[in-house]
Amino acid sequence: MRGWLTTHANACGRAVRRLLAQPTVTLLSVFVIGIAITLPLGLYVAFANVNAAAGRVSTEPNINVYLALNASEQETRDLERRLKSLGGVDRVAFISRESALQEMKRVANLAELLGSLEVNPLPHAFAIQPTAVDAATLEALRKEITTLPKVESLTMDFEWAQKLKRFATFAERIVLLLGLLLATAVVFVTGNTIRLQILTQKDEIEVSQLIGATRRFIRRPFLYFGAFQGLLAGLVAVLTVMAFVWWAGVEVRALTASYGGDFSLRAPTLNQSLGVVAFSGLLGWLGAFLSVWMYLRRVSGR
């Protein structure tokens, strides 16, 4: 047990000494790997924020049905009755073209422009509150309403929020893929730094094996080296993303404050951060392992 501790402490110490022996090279590697990890992590955090934002927007479905301009009063009442009789419809509110025009003048400051029009360009409309919220039912409902007489067009208010959500989910997958790709890159970058190290220590490795060092013993300091480098790079990535979130947060708060919103950006949690750092360390370890493994396999005759 004491021997085991000593060998690990020795290997650990050698790894640290090697890291410090070439500080520029170490810093460079750490930053290259750090950037490779910052990219997917940053995008992940960005999309998680978009997703969270989409979640806050009301996704209560709301269907607006616009009538043809030539719809008569009778036809309008018929349509209202039929809409109310449809399955899955909760409430139906009538919005006359006149009130629509008034409303538009009020909100959009378009009074002057709209006032200059001789005819009201707006149609009658119904605002429908459906009982169902799932996409398939709503889609069926939408199809059914479209076929009704005098229905000119129809919008579903919730669509953009749902689209945003779907996009964010899709984006998260892309980020995952990108992360996987870059994780592989990190393994190779580490593998390469280790390969260069091995080349400078060829003699020592050869002699050590001749006088009784196991492959495990030869590997150990390199594994610590790779892991430490990875941990540092992971730390760089997390700190970079945190700094970015903090900076963007200031901007976003300034922006949303003018809309009376209280939206704040989410930074990676402590657990996520630790996870990323640990994962990065693991990648470094893996890169080192593969590199030494390949080298030893190549040089040993047996």
């Binding site: 003699d203 001749l210 009784g212």
Partner: protein
């Protein structure tokens, strides 16, 4: 302690460096392998150290069949051997002390613990005052003695040395042979290869004479 029986070594290129060699060395013996250059001396020592494997026949060291050892077993065996290489295999990127300390760090000693043993080994070969020196600044004889210090620092039961007096002048060679004799006197089994006749006379030990891969005497 070491036993070869009908041991054949065929190199990958098909060349048979040893053509069925049998002999055995008892604990505490000192034995010199002699023969011309190319006779197979180094090959024989490499087989005894498990650096090469026999193509046929067996090599027993400490009653273990070297060919059948797994990586870990072989490493353990090597740690209990002292090896002096024909080409020294010193590490020129570290000082004398650290070269000698290498086997101890492999055996799991901490830097602190190894200090005493390293100095004892350096003392035996007369290099105690050079522990901070870079190996490159040592003379040929000193480099050879450094190599011996590294081989004995782990207090091995068997010392295997390939042409330890290689290209040293007479006076140096004699001190090296005396060194091996003194290790042997404290119980270390010594197997060395040499073609240095005057050295052999000085050692006056049992010989295994090789000629083109065969034992002739």
């Amino acid at each position: 302690m070491i036993a070869f029986s009908n041991t054949v070594k065929r190199y990958p290129n098909g060349f048979e460096a040893l053509k069925g060699v049998s002999f055995s060395i008892e604990r505490g013996e000192i034995v010199a392998v002699t023969g011309h250059s190319g006779a197979g001396k180094s090959t024989l020592l490499r087989l005894a150290a498990g650096i090469e494997l026999a193509s046929q026949g067996s090599v027993l060291v400490n009653s273990q069949n070297v060919s059948q050892l797994k990586e870990a077993g072989l490493a353990v065996m090597r740690r209990n051997l002292g090896l002096v290489f024909q080409d020294h295999k010193l590490l020129f990127d570290r000082n004398v002390f650290d070269n000698v300390a290498l086997p101890l760090s492999i055996a799991g000693f901490s830097h602190l613990e190894s200090g005493k043993r390293v100095r004892a080994a350096l003392d035996k070969v007369g290099l105690l005052n050079r522990e901070k020196a870079a190996p490159i600044t040592l003379s040929g004889g000193e480099q050879q003695r450094l190599c011996i210090a590294r081989a004995i620092v782990n207090r091995p039961a068997i010392l295997i040395a390939d042409e330890p007096t290689g290209n040293l002048d007479q006076a140096y060679a004699e001190t090296i042979f005396d060194l091996f004799r003194s290790f042997n006197q404290v119980g270390v089994t010594v197997l060395l290869a040499t073609h240095d006749e005057s050295g052999l006379e000085r050692l006056n030990c049992r010989r295994i004479s090789l000629e083109r891969g065969n034992v002739t005497a």
